[in-house]
């Protein structure tokens, strides 16, 4: 019996020891990270568990090399005209050909309710209208965003016969830059800019009466409502919003006076802008991003600007039914202007086209596509149209003051795996080089690349001439090779940002992540997600190829962001936009 007992003991003890060993081995083999449930524990996990395990390298371009790079000769190329689709008649069809640059909401042939001007052109071309000499008139409509068209006109890189932006602000901008535009039709179709807000927020505000722009502005500036809006360098609605905010802050609503550039810079007006900006969740590249963010979480984003025509369509969609629209600013009149380079026959043709577009059947078609004269427009409630100089001053002030005195820290985490070889990488490099012009001095940038392993290429540093040179030199030397250890790269990028957060908790922290493929090395999303979630860093993912969309969407959703789709053709604009609004 004693023998049996001791055999039993031995078996029990042996089993226990084997079990312990297995648990210990399992723990050692685990690629996971310690429990993360706060920003502090995220940094701790990064520094103590994650980063020591990564095979990260540091390859920094020496300053003696970087100093050779010139920072003031990088000019942003103009958009290429051929990138913007041309509908209706094509050049070379004979007769008097007129091409009109038109904003997207009335020249988007792909969408049924956004192609009014194209349909008008088709109808006009079918009518075989002629000029006085008997030659037929042929009309082409080029869909091009108002801001992009303005850039081409100001640079004299294009000479269309007509230009129809969303609103008169762009006409004023080009006039201020010596483009002599003559009004052919002050309004082709009516539209209105306004805020979209949840009905519940509207009800709270309406306790004091009808909700006006002024009331909403006060609620925003007082910290009651958070907002988002698109890039005021590119969006007609955002530019209108910016102008209207400054105009109202300057107190011109009583007498309807003109805003001046000096007033924009005054402490009284700037203080309103600063307060407003403190409530801005994000400035997005496009209005579509705003809609996605609004749907995602209305407790975080309570108001965003939109044109009324878009709003009518949006209200039909789930999630937007319970919203209200608060108009602001100058009407979006979609004017039509001609130029002094037009020949007399082109001028005549443009005038005839304008008359046709304003005819009752064409205006009825416009109404069907959501272009309506709202009460706000009928009552002439908006501010006066400002000069181009004031608008340029408004944009400049926005760029300088948009961060309300907070420093922005952005680390770019860039895929340099083998599949990036060739055009993808060279377009990306060119895009980064050009976009760097958009970075405000004093903000901080860094750059990490990843292929088989993460490489720290440019430590986070204040963007002065030296950091700019280092950035250009670093970008120049990027090469493609190897696999895709994306999350390893993200962890290295986050390490720099979280360390900086300890020193400047008031800063804004961003990580731009560009990848062209799926992760095949190192950390996985599941292993990294808690650190990312608790980092207080906003991620800007760019899908630059065949990526795991679900994962990138999940990364963007951690904080108020959306995935941007990049291609070698658009990556330059993408970077420029992102740097312009964030850095």
């Amino acid at each position: 019996m004693m023998k049996r007992l001791s055999r039993l003991h031995i078996r029990l003890v042996t089993g226990f020891v084997i079990g312990l060993c297995l648990v210990w081995i399992g723990g050692c083999l685990s690629v996971g990270t310690p429990q993360v449930d706060s920003a502090e524990s995220a940094l701790q996990a990064l520094e103590q568990s994650v980063l020591p395990q990564l095979n990260a390298e540091t390859q920094v371009v020496p300053d003696e090399v970087a100093v050779r790079y010139a920072v003031d000769t990088v000019e942003a190329p103009l958009p290429k005209l051929e990138d913007f689709p041309l509908y209706g008649a094509q050049p070379g069809e004979g007769g008097v050909y007129i091409e009109i640059f038109s904003s997207s909401e009335k020249a988007n042939f792909e969408r049924q309710n956004e192609r009014w001007l194209v349909e008008v052109a088709d109808a006009f071309n079918a009518s075989n209208a002629t000029v006085g000499s008997g030659q037929p008139i042929r009309v082409g409509i080029r869909k091009i965003a108002s801001g992009a068209a303005a850039r081409l006109l100001i640079a004299k890189a294009a000479q269309p016969v007509g230009y129809s932006p969303s609103n008169d602000l762009w006409v004023q901008m080009i006039k201020s830059q010596n483009v002599n535009a003559q009004v052919v039709a002050p309004r082709l179709v009516a539209n209105t800019a306004g805020w979209v807000i949840p009905a519940s927020v509207y009800q709270q505000l309406s306790a004091q009466g009808t909700v006006t722009f002024e009331q909403l502005l006060n609620a925003i500036a007082s910290g009651q409502i958070s907002v988002a809006y698109p890039n005021p360098y590119a969006s007609s609605t955002a530019l209108n919003l910016l102008y209207t905010l400054y105009w109202r802050a300057a107190g011109h609503q009583a007498a309807g006076g003109q805003l001046t550039a000096a007033e924009i810079a005054s402490p009284q007006v700037n203080s309103v802008f600063e307060q407003f900006q403190s409530q801005v969740l994000i400035t997005t590249p496009t209005t579509l991003d705003l809609q996605e963010l609004f749907l995602r979480d209305q407790s975080k984003l309570q108001a965003f600007p939109l044109e009324y025509q878009n709003y009518l369509a949006l209200k039909q969609l789930p999630g937007f039914e319970d919203t209200e629209f608060i108009p602001f600013g100058i009407p979006h009149n979609n004017p039509l202007v001609g130029f002094d380079w037009n020949t007399p026959e082109q001028k005549e043709a443009l005038q005839k086209f304008s008359t046709f577009a304003l005819s009752e059947p064409m205006q009825s078609l416009a109404q069907q596509q959501g272009f309506t004269v709202t009460d706000y427009v009928k009552n002439n409630e908006g501010p006066p149209i400002p000069s181009g100089e004031v608008l340029l001053a408004a944009q400049s002030n926005w760029k300088l003051q948009k961060d309300s005195g907070r420093t922005v820290y952005m680390t770019m985490v860039i895929d340099t795996s083998g599949s990036m070889e060739g055009e993808p990488l060279s377009a990306l490099k060119e895009g980064l080089r050009i976009a760097a012009q958009q970075i405000n001095p004093g903000n901080h940038i860094g750059l990490v690349t990843f292929d088989d392993k993460p490489v720290n290429r440019l430590p986070l540093g204040s963007f002065d001439k030296q950091q700019h040179q280092r950035f250009l030199a670093t970008v120049e030397q990027l090469q493609a090779n190897g696999g895709t250890a994306m999350y390893d790269g993200v962890m290295v990028g986050l390490g720099d940002l979280l360390k900086q957060q300890q020193q400047d908790p008031n800063g804004r922290y961003y990580l731009l992540l560009l990848t062209d493929g799926e992760v095949n090395r190192g950390y996985t999303f599941d292993a990294a997600k808690d650190i990312m979630a608790y980092s207080n860093v906003r991620f800007y993912p760019i899908a630059y190829g065949n990526v795991n969309e679900q994962e990138l969407d999940a990364i963007a959703s951690l904080r108020e962001s959306t995935v941007q789709v990049g291609t070698p053709e658009n990556v330059q604009d993408l970077f420029k936009n992102l740097f312009q609004i964030n850095l």
Partner: protein, 123 residues
């Protein structure tokens, strides 16, 4: 000894009077009641300190029941925000000021409540 109806009546009336006086005191409590109007139009930080100090004094008196701040209204030319619970002196000291003065709004409030105390850094 059994309480007589007279005794009960006297005691009851006495308690009732006591309760009524107590209630009246609680309503009149801290002496004067005032409405405070704070001009939150843009003010340089050094000038705002003066406004904050004035409010701090009023708030101390409110806490010591020497007066009662019924409400605090923050005003500029964009609008008004009425705070039914008086903010602390620190909250007012840390308030962000913005925009132009709302003189018309302040005048309207003072017209409706002549005893309103207006605090402003504007001349």
């Amino acid at each position: 000894m059994k309480p007589t109806p007279n005794l009960i009546r006297t005691l009851g009336l006495g308690w009732l009077a006591y309760l009524l006086v107590g209630f009246a005191l609680s309503q009149t409590g801290g002496g004067n009641k005032i409405q405070v109007v704070i001009d939150r139009s843009y003010c340089a930080p050094t000038s705002w300190q003066q406004v904050a100090d004035e409010y701090a004094q009023l708030y101390r008196q409110h806490q010591q029941k020497q007066l009662t701040i019924e409400s605090v209204t923050l005003v500029n030319d964009l609008g008004e925000e009425i705070l039914r619970v008086p903010p602390s002196a620190e909250e007012i000291a840390g308030l962000n000021t913005f925009g132009l003065p709302g003189r018309d709004r302040i005048d309207a409030i003072v017209q409706a409540s002549p005893d309103a105390k207006v605090l402003s850094c504007q001349p």
